[in-house]
């Protein structure tokens, strides 16, 4: 029992990342009808927003501290971050420590701006071109974004720690009344899951309960008619693209402490997120979220030793295997709508 709970929990954080990226992909696909291969790059840029902010906070100047000396008796040079000298060591230290959560605020405007520029500057011109062209141009864009990040940050992963207070682990076993230490789970992963749930809930609420969201949903169903009613649907779709970019970026920001960001992390997630979108059903938002969590959990179950001893290597291929089976038996995916990408 505790092993099962542990695997479900393990699947949740990866599943959350899949679900968030897949949600953004589906938003873009459902509104603009564009297959965005650069979405993984947006996730990666989000993670690097966290890296950048923590680097900015750690910018420091050197002062010669007379009270400390090295073993030769010379005064030591001590690095003091500017943030600490401005806000005092207490508050400044806390700001540096909480760089990753603070990066959420930092990344939202950046990601929305990147989304707007991408949509208005590039993707706008590809609505009327075949899907293959859209895939190719966004694939090219993904390479470019990735290489730009690589140029500035180098090819090695950059560790970006979570705040001190959240680095420990939570003993789920004791919490649920099993043995202590049977199910241990890092706090940050819990935070990640909660954060993903909030974002997903927020996006759904936004689409469901606001007038703006209603118009967008109407536009997804029938773009032309909404346009004929005198609503500037293009502008709203551009805003949705910005939101989708922000969702991917936020997923990346919060993922930075789980996996040290490197420049190709986006591509790794992108391939899987596409599989997730297809399994969930192209154009279906609940499908994307459901499939994201489902595949994340399935993957972590497949990596259990008991299962691996029966089907060796199953953890490496389970997601693809499921995708292939679903595509062949339920071509529209779990919750796909009729008439989406049927050509």
């Amino acid at each position: 029992m505790d092993a099962i709970i542990l695997q479900i929990l393990n699947g949740l954080d990866k599943g959350s990342a899949y679900a968030l990226i897949a949600l953004g992909l589906t938003l873009i696909f459902g509104t603009l009808g564009v297959v965005n291969f650069a979405h993984g790059a947006l996730f990666m840029i989000g993670a690097f927003c966290a890296v950048t902010l923590s680097k900015i906070f750690n910018l420091s100047y050197e002062v010669i501290d007379e009270s400390q000396t090295d073993f030769l008796g010379n005064p030591l040079k001590v690095k003091t971050p500017y943030v600490e000298s401005w806000f005092g060591p207490e508050l400044g230290g806390a700001i540096i420590d909480w760089a990753v959560p603070l990066a959420i605020l930092f990344s939202i405007p950046i990601m929305i701006a990147i989304g707007f520029i991408m949509e208005r500057g590039l993707i706008k011109h590809f609505y009327k071109r075949p899907h293959a062209d859209q895939i190719l141009v966004t694939f090219g864009l993904a390479i470019v974004l990735q290489e730009i990040i690589k140029y500035f940050y180098g090819a090695n992963p950059i560790p970006t720690p979570a705040p001190e207070a959240l680095t420990g682990s939570f003993d789920f076993g004791a919490f649920l009344g099993f043995q202590a230490n049977a199910v241990i789970y890092p706090y940050w992963r819990l935070v990640y899951f909660a954060f993903a749930a909030v974002i997903i809930g927020g996006v759904f609420a936004f689409l469901q309960f606001t007038t703006f969201g209603m118009v967008v949903r109407a536009g997804m169903a029938d773009r032309e008619t909404v346009g004929l009613l005198g609503i500037n649907i293009d502008r709203r779709f551009t805003i949705m693209f910005g939101i989708a970019a922000a969702v991917a970026g936020l997923a990346g920001v919060m993922y930075a402490p789980i996996n040290s960001p490197n420049y190709h992390m986006g591509m790794d997630f992108l391939v899987l997120s596409f599989v997730v979108v297809v399994v969930g059903g192209m154009g279906s938002l609940p499908g994307a979220v459901l499939a994201g969590f489902l595949l994340g959990i399935l993957e972590s179950f497949a990596s259990m030793n008991e299962i691996k001893s029966i089907f060796p290597g199953i953890d490496q291929i389970i997601i693809y295997l499921v995708a292939i089976i679903i595509l062949l038996t339920r071509p529209r995916g779990l919750m796909g709508r009729k008439g989406v990408m049927e050509d």
Binding site: V35, L122, H125, P130, H131, A132, D133, I135, L136, V137, F139, G140, L141, A142, I143, V144, Q146, E147, I148, K150, Y151, M267, V271, F274, V275, V278, M282, P312, G313, Q316, I317, Y320, L321, A323, I324, L327, L328, P331, M341, D343
Partner: protein, 401 residues
Amino acid sequence: MFGLDKKDTTLLIIVAALTLAAPFLLNPFPTDSAMAQFNAGYPDLMQRFVIFGIFAIGFNILFGLTGYLSFGHAAFLGVGSYSAVWMFKLLSMNVLPAILLSVVVAGVFALLIGFVSLRRSGIYFSILTLAFAQMSFNLAYSVLTPITNGETGLQLTLDDPRVLGSSSTADGSIPVTNLFGAEMRATYEMVVGPWNFQFNTGYYLSAILMLLSFYLAIRIFRSPFGMMLRAVKSNQTRMNYTGLNSRPYTLAAFVISGMYAGLAGGLMASMDPLAGAERMQWTASGEVVLMTILGGAGTLIGPVLGAGFIKYFENIFSKINEGILHSWFSFMPDGLEDTLIALVYPFIGKGWHLTLGILFMLVVIFLPGGLVEGGQRIGRLFRRKKSGQETDKSTQSTPAE
């Protein structure tokens, strides 16, 4: 000639002449001159030109003709490489059985994957092929280690059986790949004044195979079968409504292009007998997509051009470093020199992929026909200048679709 019309024969002859004379053509600069770094006439790079040329020609038969965008073609290349290396391990160091086996195995593999993937079209097909290729990559990397040797990659060892050959040479080293005794790595060097031309056996074997595959591709393009494939691209629904089942045609195209990829993989292993899982990764599949699009999808010569272009600039660009840039721009005033170098630097050396990405985007946006279309446009521009008014008339009389 060879059942081709005049235009295609000319094309084939030009390509053949260029490929066979490549050791001269790619070595235009004397060895010790400053421009020698732009020379591409060394065996390793020339082999890559033609091998990736084969890969791209094969990919083009699928994507260029039917419009099915496969994102998993590298899997066939990888399978081809593995089977070739196994042939070297078990049978002999002769490349002929190895290449044959790699083509056959890649073909069977393509038949299996194609049979499943081709049930869907459009983006679904792309994702299915991507999923299959990633799956093969992951398997080759982990569970199939007894066959693929996992992370290290499959290599030859001294205690391989090699039934028809010998496990090791007289001096106790691993024998080299050969074609009935002609060693693949044997290179004849011709020194003419300051020039040094290199003629490599492996290159010529690959070049001849590339010419054969190119010829075959022309025949496919011009055949009724090729017309069917084009029909799939332009309107598959209409084709189905006229009572034709398009599945066998697309499957045949998929298998053929898989076999081309297998041939490329087998050749790659013949030139350098090792095979690694990273050859199957989806970035490798992306590379052949880049080559084909950059050169011009759906054209005959485009993929070969694209492959050559990418491999050439990849090699040359990544060799340029800051020092070389400084020596180029040293005639400029200091401040200007430094700014210029700072501007250029991100795009060269390790930044080659950035240049490639930008170039690729520009091609997709402005030149969907790739380099071939670019060449045609420039050609048209010149022709128009020569006979100004005549062409104006002829463009007006072009019938509408």
